[in-house]
């Protein structure tokens, strides 16, 4: 295990009275892909959103415990959440490009954060890294909403990359895409882990097995098992993990 970039310590998350995440502690490593799997409603998206404080927008949600990013608790009083989100990017379940041009989708984030860039170069690099450049280079100024679903999702990845984050959170990024587009995104994840730490929530076990280095299995808010993906899929230690992976429930 390389040096952990995010450490979760004893984290519990409540929606009102209901506990969605139950005293979870785990580390996420630098330059690795970590998959979070589990049946619907097990709290995996809630956990992911606690890492860039997107849970702040959920009314009635409450945290206990710590999330450390580079050894700083992101829930501490003096933390600026917008600074956290600059370094920990996010790709959502449904592609959600801004209703602007492809070019503006890439540059909007860095611009509002006061970055000074060679914008042409940033756009080209980001789109190339997201494997979208060849498809859109002739129409950078047309609407992002004219792209197909798979292209839109890759644009969202390019948009996240343009911020030069250290970590990218992906919340079921392929659930709205067809198999071909899914394959492209998975391919892309492989390449991106050279430069970023990626946390991906997925309900698709084959996808977790294909793209991740480590896998965490959640069930009803508990972290059941966490380890190298190969071990989780081939030699799970817990019966629940085994049953889920074999498709006995889900």
């Amino acid at each position: 295990m390389t040096e952990p970039i995010i450490k979760i310590e004893d984290l519990s998350i409540y929606y009102g009275e209901k506990r969605a995440i139950n005293q979870v502690s785990m580390d996420f490593c630098n330059n690795e892909v970590t998959a979070i799997i589990g049946p619907s409603g097990c709290g995996k998206s809630t956990l992911l959103r606690s890492i860039n404080r997107m849970n702040d927008f959920v009314v009635g949600l409450r945290n206990e415990g710590k999330v450390l990013y580079r050894d700083k608790n992101i829930y501490a009083e003096d933390i600026d959440e917008s600074e956290i989100r600059r370094n920990i990017g996010m790709v959502f379940q449904k592609p959600n490009p801004f209703p602007k041009s492809i070019y503006d989708n890439i540059t909007w984030g860095p611009k509002i954060n006061g970055y000074k860039e060679d914008w042409e170069k940033l756009v080209e690099e980001s789109l190339k890294r997201a494997a979208l450049w060849d498809e859109v280079k002739d129409r950078l100024h047309s609407s992002a909403l004219e792209l197909s679903g798979g292209q839109q999702q890759r644009l969202c990845i390019a948009r996240a990359i343009a911020m030069r984050p250290e970590v990218i959170l992906m919340d079921e990024p392929c659930s709205a895409l067809d198999p071909k587009a899914t394959f492209k995104i998975e391919d892309l994840i492989h390449e991106l882990k050279e430069s970023y730490s990626i946390l991906i929530v997925t309900h698709n076990m084959q996808q977790a097995a294909r793209v991740s280095d480590r896998t965490a299995f959640f069930y009803l808010g508990d972290l059941i098992e966490y380890g190298p993906t190969k071990q989780i899929f081939e030699l799970p230690k817990k019966d629940q993990t085994q049953d889920y992976i074999q498709g006995k429930f889900g």
Binding site: N52, M54, F57, S82, E83, R85, R86, G89, M90, F92, K94, N96, P97, F98, P99, K100, S101, W108, G109, I112, N113, S143, A144, L145, C156, R159, A160, M163
Partner: protein, 280 residues
């Protein structure tokens, strides 16, 4: 009755209602144009009102309307959009005070315009001492159209999907950057629709302006917001009420000018709207 027949007849019912309404409107416009066209010329646009119909012109009323509408828009649009943004993006929606405010805005949108006239008379003309000025008139009309702008803008802001807001926040945007950089541009087409409707209403308003003191005869065009004024509908009303037949014709010419002004304002608004709709 069988459903097939029902289907056909409902279709014809809706279709004929649409065409009938359109037909009545066209007859009305045709009638006015036939009556007014002989008077509608440059002389009519550039002359002061007069006792004799051949010399009478609409210059002062046209200028007054342009002044009034510009300042009404200037006062109402920033207030309206900012209020809508506050109510949708900042205010706690379930707070009893916010709910009360919301109900009141909806009620104000349906208030008879003459009541706004009385309000304007009390506050702007008398208490604040603006007298019978463009300032008092346009502030009164701004109050009149404010609720409509607020409600239309709120609807447009509500229609912006949350996924856009979250995407922006996830990139480290501050709230004002999300609101000004993403929500507002996406809502502009809808907001423009509300503004077009309400400004069109303001152009045609007569009653509140008569109460705050629009003149029926004025011999000069306004030069500042503290000057007295008259507006097109007041002038038209005045001409239409005279016994001489020729004045009815110049009233029709005045209506044509009013319609043209409305159309050109709508054209500007539609242009702005389509500019912002480029990325739909």
């Amino acid at each position: 009755m069988n459903r097939r027949l029902m289907d056909r007849s409902f279709y014809w019912f809706c279709k004929s209602m649409t065409w009938m309404a359109l037909g009545i409107l066209l007859i009305l416009i045709f009638h006015i144009c036939r009556q007014g066209c002989e008077y509608l010329d440059w002389q009519f646009l550039s002359s002061l009102p007069s006792r004799s119909p051949e010399k009478a012109g609409i210059k002062t009323a046209l200028a007054g309307t342009v002044w009034i509408i510009c300042f009404t828009a200037l006062f109402a649009i920033p207030f309206g959009i900012a209020t809508a943004l506050y109510l949708e993006e900042y205010a706690p929606k379930r707070h009893p005070f916010v709910r009360l405010l919301q109900i009141n805005i909806a009620n104000l949108a349906g208030m008879p315009s003459i009541i706004y006239g009385l309000l304007g008379l009390t506050i702007f003309v008398r208490s604040l001492g603006f007298e019978r000025s463009i300032l008092a008139g346009s502030l009164t009309l701004a109050l009149l159209i404010l609720p409509v702008i607020v409600i239309a803008s709120q609807e447009a802001i509500k229609a912006v999907p949350d996924s856009i807001r979250f995407a922006a926040y996830a990139m480290g945007a501050r709230r004002y950057q999300v609101v000004l950089g993403q929500v507002l541009p996406s809502a502009i087409p809808g907001i423009m629709t509300g503004i077009i409707l309400s400004i069109s209403r303001a152009i045609g308003e007569t009653a509140p302006l008569i109460i705050v003191g629009a003149m029926s005869y004025i011999a000069y065009t306004p030069e500042s917001i503290f000057d007295m004024f008259t507006v097109l509908p007041v002038q038209i009303y005045n001409w239409a009420g005279r016994p001489k037949e020729e004045f009815h014709a110049i009233a029709a010419a005045g209506i044509m000018v009013l319609l043209l002004l409305l159309l050109s304002l709508n054209f500007i608004a539609v242009t702005i709207r389509s500019r912002y709709q480029r990325y739909k």
